[in-house]
Amino acid sequence: MKKIISLILTAVILCTLFISCDTAKSDVQSVKDAGKLVVGVTVYPPMDYLDDNGEWTGFDAELAQQFAETLGVNCQIVIIKWDNKVAELNSNQIDLIWNGMTASDELGEKIDFSVSYAKNAQVAVVKKGSTLTADGVKDAKIAVENGSAGATVAEETVKGTNINKVGAMVDALNEVLAGTSDVAIIDITMAQSVVGKGVYADLEILDGASYGDEIFAVGLRKGSDLKAELDAFLKAKYADGTMTALAEKYNVGLNTDALK
């Protein structure tokens, strides 16, 4: 009797290890079936942030909500850990990454990009009154967001010797505020939106320290059929002037060549 129970228990444990079911459905179909488009973001003004009522707003958030509307589904915006963005996408936890994401070649090997909708560059942010110059950034303590374009710039363009990789771009700014780092390398879009205001009033963008030309795109799973719908949507929103109006509202530089 005991042996039989033991055998059954062993069998059950082994079986649970091999459960598998079919998830091979087209993205557009599964989004429509679920009735919602799940968009992964981080808090990143002016692209995605919460307004005073706790509602998502920003250049990307508004576009994402409009895109969900055209699909006839709800838009669910969830905060993810930026380090895990590829895993979030590939494990079907989210459908899109729409968070002012720099479309780098490296990332392009793992996920697909929509047509690029905005332009970006990296800038260095220092404390007001800092004696640091653009040439000195190389030897300073640099704070960057782990896995971001700023981190690549710090390593490959600036060739920094002392790089602190933190969890988010705002963390990089906090490092500079707290004095634990001398300079933060972050997106110009975000720097223009927050530096010199509010809690970041004591920071400024370093003159002459601007690196690289980058483009922003929405991230999709490899081979996702959402790409065709999304590209058509982005181009249509540019053509009817909606995106230009949003770009002025949030101070974002559109990638007009790609959107034509």
């Binding site: 005991k2 998830t23 905060i79 979030e88 936890q93 969890g167 705002v170 963390d171 906090n174």
Partner: protein, 230 residues
Amino acid sequence: MELFIEVFSKLGNGFIIALLLFALTLILAIPLGLVMCFCTMSKFKPLSLFSKLIVWVLRGTPLMLQVFAIFYLPGLLKLFVWPQMNTGWVWFDNTFSTRFIAALVAFAINYAAYFSEIYRGGIESIPKGQYEAGQVLGLTKKQVFFKIVLLQVIKRIIPPMSNEIITLIKDTALANTIAVYELIFEAKEFMTVDGLIWPLFVAGGFYLVFVGLLTILFGRLEKKLDYFKA
């Protein structure tokens, strides 16, 4: 003042998530640990070897890695996607999100592995003579275990269990690696969004007070079982 209220209400929400994760993990892990313990102690070799292997892996790898693997691997390997609650009751659906469920499963399995070893230690610490005495008195093996051994085991395992349980409430912070909105996650959001560091220390205070309460509770429990002095 307004900021103070905002910080406390957000941290309060995070603490509720942490407490739910804590309580549900215990509810699942305490019996699951007993099952694992019996599997490990089974005389049927394949079962005991297999469960020893599982306990080894669960105790031998970081909990953070296990949380990560349990949340992302099923989707990455195209096995299944964690089901989303859909009761229409917004608070319930948001609280028991796929992220929360995955974290709960990881925590329950991990803690069950630790508990199973504590149980094993407790059961094996009972002298063999007691089993023999029970047999002489004509009790069945089942009766000996439930009527003589179990209560003594409970008394003996309370100190190591309280240790693990106190560790658990602080380990709930690891759920923030998959963006569960628990206490540390909420406190860190103040850091990233508003540049405030002090909410993180307030969050520390929440844990400290709760662990204080647990300590008093376990102290009383130990006293209550004191009449068992061997």
